[in-house]
């Protein structure tokens, strides 16, 4: 019985007249007049997804356009196209810095522009800082020292608060027109009030008072690991909650039905006003984490946690949750992680939350030299990096006075929003792949901006490296569009073949007087016709026609070939054509019943048509050091 020739027998099959291989078996074609081989690219299909609800527009003749004109959905979207996405994804992006993406409710057309810078307005030497705003006066403590500003944080002065010498300020609470101060030296403490006129009065000195909070019109004060109600005068009630030894309370917030108090034991305690007395009514445990701060806004509770690691690293997390009541117990339900910060060697914990009408802010130390406010935008539930302080420290306090943000960076200073713009900011869009895992030909890109002036520019950088999103300075970012004036919209021709395209938009304002306003970008791609259908007439006669040799009959060879091919129907195979050089991995769709043709008298050709559908693979023309399995080659290569 004749054998099928395999690659093991023929080192150079093309020279011996074999026209293609299926897996490792070599075959001869029966290509001739009337029985041509066809290689047909399959049309790009719509994948059955209704992409027209997204900004992407799909047509068969112009390819696909990946565009974005709204980024108010916030950051942290790592893939523009995924099957389990939601409609908000079309307004989301991956990362940004120094650009404001949340301005959809300002009564003006949406755009992205640079944020204002911040400046240090008061130096702080201690890591123990507190801030309280009484009316428009801002108080900031620094160890034993208390500073105040009456002009929205522009100028600061030291306040003579009358605290006992050596007492470190542990808490500030604005309660009506008074500022309550708790201070201690570790073994003794006091509570003082400070009037707007600067008159200080010692209210209590019976215990080592720690933090003080003004919530729901009442004051609560922590003494060691216990929390007490305080009437604001001379009476501290009995302990409402007592924590395990060594644990402390960190923050408190009025959540409407109850007061929520956070503690380092990983719990959020719910205190309900029962006939004028705050009573513990349940708690929520965030296991494995210490709750550091809490705030309520528009019925949603936000809280930050930290997870201690060995060394100086602290993982920070921001959650949102809903307050629910069950059996007269108030607990947080539907806890959802908004974002986690996890940078090695850095205390990434959020330590303060601040809420405005539409947003919730927290502050994160991101490196040894930079700290950022992060903004959670309530209308879209998106989060993005916000104001930047050029100092690395935990942000323990955030406030807004006179439409300007202020926040403290521990052991560094009080930072205040200025009126000038950042010189540069960027926004990295999510990698796009048009729902397909195949390479595309990216052919065109453009951006739209509002009319540029004052040397402002908007640049579009592209990378085809998915991981480029992790580093705004990645070496693969290539500047493709640079709008120096006008409104952009001029398309730039691209020549990129890749699965992903990642866009980074950089806004620049050299004079920082005003900001360029970025509106939209788009990248157009054509699908690579990689899915091909190849139909090959295969010689299944007994007649072997080797080049430069007379035809030779090998009895039953045709039947052997035909049966071998028939057994491959429906199987995954690798088809390699030698001329033209093509490698296709796919499926044998069918092998037709044998056909006989008799083009020349006395010469009968029996053939069958093999149909393989699959995707094109890289072919090797010359062997290089890169052509090894796992580098450029998938698995099998041929040394010609």
């Amino acid at each position: 019985m004749p054998r099928l020739t395999t690659q093991a027998e023929e080192s150079n099959p093309k020279r011996k007249g074999y026209d293609f291989r299926v897996d490792n078996e070599l075959y001869r074609s029966a290509i001739g007049p009337g029985r041509e081989m066809t290689i047909q690219s399959s049309d790009v299909q719509d994948q059955g997804l209704n992409v027209k609800q997204n900004p992407e527009d799909f047509t068969s003749n112009i390819g696909r356009i990946y565009s974005r004109n709204d980024f108010s959905g916030g950051s942290n979207l790592d893939n523009a196209h995924k099957a389990n996405g939601n409609p908000n994804d079309v307004t989301r992006f991956w990362d940004s810095e120094s650009v404001d993406v949340f301005n959809t409710d300002l009564g003006k057309g949406y755009n992205v522009q640079l944020l204002h810078t911040t400046e240090k307005v008061q130096a702080l030497s201690s890591a123990v800082n507190h801030m309280a705003v009484v009316g428009t006066r801002i108080y900031v403590s620094d160890d034993e020292t208390l500073y105040k500003s009456d002009d929205g944080g522009a100028n600061w002065s030291t306040v003579t608060e009358g605290l006992t010498a050596g007492y470190q300020i542990k808490g500030l609470a604005a309660h009506g027109d008074l500022l309550y101060i708790t201070a201690n030296n570790g073994s003794a403490g006091e509570i003082e009030t400070l009037t707007s006129g600067g008159t200080s009065t010692q209210k209590m000195s019976a215990a080592v008072y720690d933090k003080i909070f003004s919530v729901k019109g009442q004051l609560i004060v922590s003494i060691g690991n216990a929390l007490h109600a305080y009437d604001g005068v001379t009476t501290v009630g009995s302990a409402i909650v007592t924590l395990p030894s060594g644990q402390t309370f960190t923050d408190a917030a009025d959540a409407g039905a109850v007061v929520l108090v956070t503690a380092t034991d990983g719990r959020i305690y719910s205190l309900k006003d029962v006939t004028g007395t705050l009573t513990l009514k349940g708690q929520t445990e965030i296991s494995g984490e210490q709750v550091t701060c809490i705030v309520e806004s528009q019925g949603i509770v936000f809280y930050g946690t930290k997870e201690l690691q060995t060394g100086s690293k602290v993982i920070g997390r921001l959650y949102r949750a809903n307050l629910t009541v069950a059996d007269d117990l108030y607990v947080l339900a539907n806890n959802q992680l908004i974002k986690q910060w996890d940078v090695d060697g850095i205390d990434n914990s959020p330590n303060a939350l601040f809420t405005t009408r539409d947003s919730v802010y927290t502050g994160i130390k991101e490196s040894g030299s930079t700290s950022f406010l992060w903004r959670y935008y309530l209308p879209t539930a998106g989060i993005a990096r916000y104001y930047k302080a050029s100092a690395g420290g935990t942000v323990n306090n955030i406030a807004s006075v006179n439409e300007k943000f202020l926040f403290t960076v521990s052991a560094d200073g009080v930072y205040k929003q200025t009126s000038v713009y950042e010189q540069e900011g960027f926004l990295i869009a999510p990698p796009a792949d048009f729902f397909t895992a195949e390479n595309k030909q990216f052919v065109e890109a453009s951006i739209e901006v509002e009319a540029l002036s004052d040397s402002n520019t908007v640049e579009l950088y592209l990378s085809n490296k998915y991981e480029a999103i992790n580093d705004s300075n990645d070496s693969t970012w290539d500047l493709e569009v640079n709008a120096l004036s006008g409104v952009g919209e001029e398309s730039v021709q691209l020549s990129r073949v890749a699965r992903y395209v990642v866009a980074k938009i950089v806004l620049k304002s050299p004079n920082q007087v005003n900001s360029p306003k970025f509106k939209a970008f788009r990248v157009r791609a054509l699908a690579r016709p990689e899915l091909v259908v190849i139909q090959i007439p295969v010689n299944i006669s007994d007649r072997v026609e080797r080049p430069f040799r007379k035809p030779l009959l090998v009895k039953n060879l045709g039947e052997t070939i035909y049966q071998a091919l028939k057994n491959k129907e429906g199987n995954a195979v690798t088809l390699e054509l030698y001329d033209p050089a093509e490698i296709v991995r796919g499926v044998v769709e069918k092998i037709t019943y044998p056909i006989q043709s008799n083009p020349n008298v006395g010469s009968v050709t029996q053939y069958a048509i093999l149909t393989v559908r699959g995707t094109r693979q890289e072919t090797f023309s010359q062997v290089t050091s890169g052509d090894i399995p796992g580098v450029k080659g998938f698995a099998v290569m041929r040394f010609a």
Binding site: P2, R3, T5, E9, E10, K16, G17, V544, R546, P547, F548, R549, K550, P551, L552, L553, V554, K555, L557, N600, V601, G602, S603
Partner: protein
């Protein structure tokens, strides 16, 4: 130009039957030593074959080594060996040097081509003929050509074309001054084969030819004394080749007869054959370069034969120019 029959056979393959891009599948003997005439296991070089070509050497297939045909009995693809029956289809088992070409199912076996060459040479006569000039010492009566011990190929002689003599004793290195050659009347006599005679020592001898025409030849001179030397030129049939090592000169072929033989062999071999397109094209090209294109209505074989006729005609003119027909009266050539 060829010097022997082997060269002529190779030319036929090269120029007509097997162009370089249309060879019969072949390999070579890889015995490491000469293949004896009795060895039935042949080791071949597998690198020259595809797997299908190897498989084609399965039982029943005829392979060829030189002019011997062998029938395959079994195939060992692991050791590249095939077991054969030697010397089939009228060929003779013989030794073959290591490295000899082994063809698989040859379309044009070398044995056939050799036989066709022989046929074509034989068939050239009487259109064309060989010539031979003999130096004969005129006897008292008839002069027998050849001897009992060395009959030669005198039975292939057909007729004297001319005969000359000095009418004196001729000796080598003699002075040629005043020596004149003149025509001699001579008649070729056909004697029975074998022919018995008594030689000058009164011993009875028999001259016998076992190959070629069944005749013994003698000459009868007129008008010349016995003992004189005459030079007689004969029209002669071509000698049948018996081996590829036979030279063309031995056979009696002129150089210009080679194309005639080749065209004739090609026509003979292609007659009735399903020849591949490649070979058809090749022969057509060959004929075109010989100013004898194959027209659309003419089969290649006919064209080859027409081409051969044209060549023969040319050769005949040359022969007539060199050897005009002699004056013959009563079979005596003057």
């Amino acid at each position: 130009m060829s010097t022997n029959i082997q060269g002529l056979v190779d030319r036929v393959y090269r120029e007509y039957l097997e162009p370089m891009d249309d060879l019969t599948s072949y390999t070579v003997l890889n015995e490491g030593t000469e293949l004896s005439a009795s060895d039935t296991v042949i080791t071949f070089d597998g690198n020259l074959l595809t797997q299908e070509e190897e498989d084609a050497m399965d039982a029943g297939t005829i392979i060829e080594c030189e002019r011997e045909l062998m029938r395959c009995v079994s195939l060992d693809t692991v050791n590249n060996q095939v077991t054969v029956v030697r010397g089939v289809r009228g060929t003779i088992a013989s030794t073959h040097p290591d490295g000899s070409v082994v063809k698989i199912s040859p379309t044009f076996p070398r044995k056939n081509v050799f036989d066709a060459v022989c046929d074509q040479i034989k068939n050239l006569y009487p259109t064309l003929f060989a010539t031979e000039t003999l130096e004969v010492v005129v006897g008292d009566g008839f002069t027998l050509l050849g001897s009992y011990s060395a009959p030669g190929t005198n039975n292939y002689l057909v007729a004297p074309i001319k005969s000359i003599s000095q009418y004196t004793d001729f000796s080598a290195n003699s002075d040629t001054t005043n020596v004149v050659f003149r025509g001699v009347a001579v008649e070729l006599i056909d004697l029975p084969n074998p022919f018995t005679y008594t030689d000058d020592t009164s011993t009875e001898r028999t001259i016998t030819y076992t190959t070629g025409p069944n005749v013994v030849h003698a000459l009868q001179f007129s008008g010349i004394a016995a003992g004189h030397t005459a030079f007689v030129t004969f029209k002669k049939k071509f000698i049948d080749p018996t081996s590829e090592t036979d030279t063309l000169a031995t056979v009696g072929l002129e150089d210009e007869y080679e194309p005639i033989i080749m065209a004739g062999v090609a026509a003979q071999m292609l007659s009735g054959r399903d020849i591949p397109t490649a070979t058809t094209d090749y022969i057509t090209d060959q004929l075109s370069t010989s100013n004898f294109p194959v027209d659309s209505a003419t089969r290649i074989r006919n064209s080859l034969l027409s081409y051969q006729r044209a060549l023969i005609q040319q050769a005949r003119k040359d022969l007539r120019a060199r050897y005009p027909e002699p004056v013959t009266i009563n079979n005596i050539v003057y």
